[in-house]
Symmetry: C2
Subunit: 224 residues, 2 copies
Amino acid sequence: MAEIICTVDVVLLTLLDGQLRVALLRRDHEPFPGVLALPGGYIHPDQDGDTQVAAARVLLEKTGIVSPYLEQLATFSGRGRDPRGWSLSICYYALVPTEVIRLAGHPEVVLVPADGIAGLPFDHQQIVAAALERVRNKSSYSSLPVYLCGDTFTLPQLQSVYEALLGEPVNKVSFRRKIEEFDILEPIEGAMETGKAHRPAQLYRLKSRYRNRLSLTDRGLGTG
Amino acid sequence: MAEIICTVDVVLLTLLDGQLRVALLRRDHEPFPGVLALPGGYIHPDQDGDTQVAAARVLLEKTGIVSPYLEQLATFSGRGRDPRGWSLSICYYALVPTEVIRLAGHPEVVLVPADGIAGLPFDHQQIVAAALERVRNKSSYSSLPVYLCGDTFTLPQLQSVYEALLGEPVNKVSFRRKIEEFDILEPIEGAMETGKAHRPAQLYRLKSRYRNRLSLTDRGLGTG
DNA sequence: ACAATAGTGTCTCTTAGACAATATCGA
DNA sequence: TCGATATTGTCTAAGAGACACTATTGT
């Protein structure tokens, strides 16, 4: 009986220049060597507790990043998607601020605008499309986008993150009401975003119980 | 290197006596022979185009049912979930009217109330819990529950299906407004639910473009 | 006629968005 | 003081649920 190739792939998303971007890497090996593709790799049953751990490991190995938010997206499978044979990839998506990618020190990570992405090998284009749909859908009713921000940020900054994701302006008052009722942020006493020629904005951070105090070397994972 | 056991499992849901129920089967083989479990089986790469097809095949083989609605739920994996070794199950869920199960003629299918289900082998309990959460969540804003109804039904009947799923009464006026705006149902001219000692209710059916004209022998699948 | 449920009209309350007033910075 | 943006208050419109009224059947 034919073997099933079992892999994980990660759609790592970040916001750069107000654009949602996907982290891609040039492939080392066959198939499609040299082609930009999602970070992915084989599941190592002897090493990985489950596919979530496998995805975290692959992401760390290939990009140096530990993402506080890593959620299963879906499983893609079939005979045609990989020239090596019948394969199956459990796909995850992650959201991180761009600084985390820079600080991870893997300069070979390429950040490609997520919309209109093309030329990806395997069925990675469909995987990216599914991730975008999921993220945009969740963004419309959840606090997911905070994972794209750094440790501290102002409400106008967070609002512009939502707007970049949703692709449309959001009402300021409604936005603040929504964030308020999520009840996940706290103002940092006395800390303001200063230096601009206008009223300074209050800096906020995630409340401690939602905060993932992960450095780049930590290993814990949260699915939110 | 250790092998990965690749399977699919299906959470087949139906409504019986106003209760959401899960279709279970007694296992033939090791592990857990004789124990009630979700219908599931190995992926056959030589036979299945992808995991969705595998799930449909397994469901048909084990229950005789072709479900118009069959959606991927999630993939469960890890070392501990199957005593045979590191395994991975791509799980799907399906919704069908109870008549379809009866007509399929596999009397060994057992319909167990979905809530408070216990004693399932592997991690099937978590899989069922995930399916319930998904179905209930989707039911609160979509037309998913129509798949639990037969070909024709009245709006009060459909409403009671929603109420059984959500576990709470729903407002009649709002419910009808919502169904109206989904724009997926059409009244069947002149067909009423008769015989009751009160005003008869209009019978409805899915508009043809949403209707899956699947008999028990058809093989096509739709994910909605 | 009566009981019972189907189907519909309307009112109110909640919530989302528009608009606008006030606050506070650097230049 | 002026320009710019943050923050907050308030009005309005849209949508959800409560209530109640009419319709139609079998008994």
